[in-house]
């Protein structure tokens, strides 16, 4: 029996109580034999403090972990952004350089550069067969100033260095030499006639079709 049970046991059971009328001793139900008193050991109290400390500790650790994780994530994010932009820059650079190489590589640009350096294509070639030691064909030295023939216009890739002077607008594939002398002629003519009359109006620029075949409709420009 616990202490509480003992305490709550009715007190009106003592022998000192006067008898109530109608109730005589001995006639009531057999009296309960009293429970012998004994020492009640109190159960050892559970110590709560370590648990609370543990909880707080865990909380703190968790917070720290979240903080550290956050910091590392955001710093990794910065690094990521930086690397991304570095990658983009390098991709751009790479593309740019590749395009430059391709531009210099284009056969017409190579040919133009070679002509610029004074190289002339040889027209007659000979062959030596090493196994039979026979020579076929008569190789002739290339002659300087040989007509190079038609000039294929350099690729019109926007923003690329022009290796070859662009051929004239109207006749893009006309012989370059002729075109050069022509422009030189018109220049001298211009200077001569500049005093007397205005230079002939520049040829109408080629209509920009942007790859299509229908020119844009003519529009009235305000002020005209």
């Amino acid at each position: 029996m616990s202490n509480a049970a003992v305490n709550s046991y009715p007190v009106a059971q003592g022998a000192t109580a006067r008898a109530l009328p109608g109730i005589r001793p001995g006639t009531g139900p057999a009296r309960k034999s009293r429970t012998p008193l004994s020492l009640v050991r109190s159960a050892p109290r559970k110590r709560r403090a370590p648990f609370v400390v543990l909880c707080f500790g865990l909380l703190a650790v968790a917070l720290m972990a979240v903080l550290v994780l956050n910091i590392s994530v955001s710093s990794a994010q910065y690094q990521l952004v930086q690397l991304r932009s570095e990658q983009t820059t390098l991709t751009k650079q790479n593309q740019d350089l590749t395009q430059q190489v391709q531009n210099f590589d284009a056969p017409q640009n190579l040919a133009a550069k070679a002509t610029e350096l004074g190289m002339v294509a040889s027209l007659a070639k000979g062959q030596i067969d090493l196994s039979t030691l026979s020579v076929t064909g008569k190789a002739k030295p290339a002659v300087k100033g040989d007509a190079p023939g038609a000039v294929i216009a350099a690729p019109a890739v926007a923003g690329q260095l022009t290796v070859v002077p662009p051929a004239s607008e109207n006749d893009p594939l006309a012989q370059r030499k002729a075109a050069d002398t022509k422009t030189a002629d018109t220049k001298t003519a211009d200077t001569k006639t500049a005093d007397t009359k205005p230079a002939p109006a520049a040829a109408a620029p080629a209509v920009e079709l942007h790859g299509g075949s229908v020119p844009a409709p003519a529009q009235k420009v305000p002020g005209q």
Binding site: Q95, D96, P107, A153, A158
Partner: protein, 600 residues
């Protein structure tokens, strides 16, 4: 007292229980209502709230697929896509921002510098190379999106971004560039709006080059941040395949330059050179005059933007005599040294035929008839074939059947059925009038003779290269045996004799045995009714004759001046020798064929 209390509790107890039960009942009902609603909202999603919310959060982004490149046989890039930038302005932001701050390095220190709008505009104008006032107009207004400049290169974009002008952003776009310009420009073709092919291979191979755009769908919160645990579906873009051609861009350039020079020199309307590998059918070069530069195709006339080697069909003229000779030899009705007595003009069925040169009655061999390109003799020998046979042989050599090399508008030529031929046409088809074909069809017919009678279909697309680098070869179409190996050999000897003994001596190349045939035909006027307007002059040949490897045909349409003074021989020679040199072909061995042109 105890009884009282007992009684009181007895009286109250049922009451409390009932109340308790009532309360519990109400609670449970409410719980049921709430639970039911919860179930309906969460579990069944009546009214589509969750879905609407999810849709509100979901943000799709299209991941563009990169368009495949077009490469030549050695991997030289003929077409590829690069990043370019558009400068876009939010005019409302820019107009109202009179000054802004930007971080600048002043005397080695980073400092915030105050910049006025005017200063910013003039700086931007300097970078973009635009007029300052025009730029100011472009930046002023109420539009939220206005493109200021297009297709900037990355370095310019970098400068623009560094100016940090409010309202100005740069957007990446894909731009198609053609590093080789007009070299193979017509074959490669071009795009119409930066995405869809409009001409050439860019048009026909659009689906393969384009690829499939990918998609990324993720959830975004009201604060504009991505919800990390939400949906994140990534469908990666499948880039387009690269296309590898059989062309050699150096030879393509060489041929284009050669035919352009020839065209300019003789004032012709157009010219074509085709170089083909007889062993594989691969087209090594297909040159056009005034080929478009796909970077700016508007610069050349519309009719020059295609590939005339496949689109233009014309009456081939005497090059067709090879087919007649091959037919009669294969049918066993003649042989290279078969003799014919040829009068100055020859009349059959009331139709009179004469030759390009004056001659008396001559004793000729079949080789001599082809070697001197005699119409009279060709009609005499071709008469041994029935009309149906003539038609059948032309058909067998691929006339009337378009080669399929993947270019748009490939012509199949005009081969009228034999029963519709008129009295003259039935003989003229023997020497290439009254029948029309494209240059590539002529090359294909000669290729079958060069390749021991086996016709291979010409190939332009060699393979498709997947984004992961695997190369799928385009399989060659089934070869056809057109004539027997022996016939092919005899026809080759006739062609070689035309160079060694006949009239085409200028096609000869030192060190190599060459077989060739010229063709000159009258070209009907473009309006189709005013008769003939000029000539089509062509030459086709193969080398080295001991084991023919290459076919070269040069065609010139309507050169000005006397047709007798016009020769494509030097052009053929220079292109053929350049081809032999490029592919390191051994000089010929063995004795060249020299079939007598006159019968003794």
């Amino acid at each position: 007292m105890a009884q009282n209390t007992g009684k009181a509790s007895k009286a109250k107890a049922p009451n409390a229980t009932r109340r308790l039960r009532w309360g519990l009942g109400i609670m449970l009902t409410l719980l049921l209502v709430v639970g039911g609603k919860l179930f309906m909202v969460q579990g069944l999603d009546v009214g589509g709230m969750a879905e609407a919310a999810l849709n509100n959060r979901l943000t799709p982004i299209e991941l563009p697929a990169e368009r495949g490149s077009i490469l030549d046989s050695s991997g030289t890039v003929l077409a590829s896509s690069v990043i370019r930038y558009n400068v876009v302005v939010d005019q409302t932001v820019n107009t109202k921002t009179e000054t802004f701050r930007r971080l600048e390095t002043v005397n080695g220190k980073d400092e915030l510098v105050k910049v006025t709008r005017d200063q910013g505009i003039s700086e931007l104008a300097g970078v973009l190379g635009m007029d300052r006032d025009a730029l100011r107009d472009a930046l002023t207004g109420t539009q939220r999106y206005y493109i200021v400049a297009k297709d900037l290169k990355p370095d310019v974009e970098d400068q623009v971004s560094k100016l940090q002008i409010p309202g100005i952003v740069t957007e990446g776009t894909s731009k198609r560039v053609y590093p080789n310009g007009s070299v193979a420009g017509g074959i490669v073709g071009f795009l119409k709006d930066g995405t869809t092919g409009q001409a050439g291979l860019e048009q026909t191979q659009d689906e393969i080059l384009k690829g499939t755009p990918g998609k990324r769908v993720f959830e975004i919160g009201a604060d504009g941040l991505r919800i990390p645990v939400g949906v994140d579906e990534l469908t990666p873009a499948i880039n387009g395949k690269d296309i590898k051609l059989t062309l050699n861009s150096d030879l393509q350039y060489f041929s284009q330059q050669a035919i352009q020079s020839q065209k300019d020199k003789l004032g012709a309307e157009w010219g074509v050179i085709v170089v083909s590998d007889a062993k594989t059918g691969n087209i090594i070069a297909m040159a056009d005059t005034d080929a478009p530069d796909p970077n700016d195709p508007g610069k050349v006339a519309a009719q020059d933007r295609g590939v005339r080697a496949v689109t233009a069909s014309y009456e081939p003229g005497s090059v067709e005599k090879m087919i007649t000779a091959a037919a009669v030899i294969d049918e066993g009705k003649s042989s290279p040294l078969d003799t014919f007595t040829i009068p100055p003009t020859y009349t059959v069925d009331g139709q009179t035929f004469s030759d390009a040169f004056e001659h008396g009655t001559e004793q000729r061999t079949l080789a001599g008839i082809v070697g001197y390109s005699m119409n009279t003799g060709t009609v005499m020998v071709g008469q041994r074939l029935s009309k149906e046979q003539r038609y059948g042989w032309l058909q067998k050599f691929g006339i009337g059947e378009a080669p399929d090399i993947g270019l748009p508008a490939e012509s199949k030529g005009i081969l009228t059925p034999a029963d519709q031929w008129d009295g003259r046409q039935q003989y003229t088809v023997l020497f290439g009038q009254g029948v029309a074909q494209s240059t590539l069809q002529t090359v294909r017919a000669y290729q079958s003779i060069a390749n021991d009678g086996v016709m291979l279909q010409p190939r332009l697309i060699d393979s498709y290269i997947d984004p992961d680098g695997t190369e799928e070869k385009v399989p060659a179409k089934a070869p056809q045996q057109v004539v027997s190996k022996e016939t092919a050999k005899q026809v080759r000897d006739i062609l070689e004799s035309a160079v060694t003994e006949g009239e085409i001596k200028e096609a000869a190349i030192d060190g190599y045995r060459v077989g060739a045939k010229t063709g000159t035909s009258e070209s009907p006027c473009d309006d189709g009714k005013s008769g003939f307007c000029g000539f089509t002059a062509s030459i086709i040949g193969m080398a080295p004759m001991d084991d023919p490897r290459f076919i070269v045909e040069v065609v010139l349409q309507r050169p000005k001046g006397s047709i007798y003074g016009i020769t494509n021989g030097p052009v053929f020679r220079s292109v053929m020798s350049q081809t032999l040199r490029t592919f390191n072909v051994q000089p010929s061995t063995g004795e060249p064929a020299r079939l007598p042109q006159y019968a003794k």
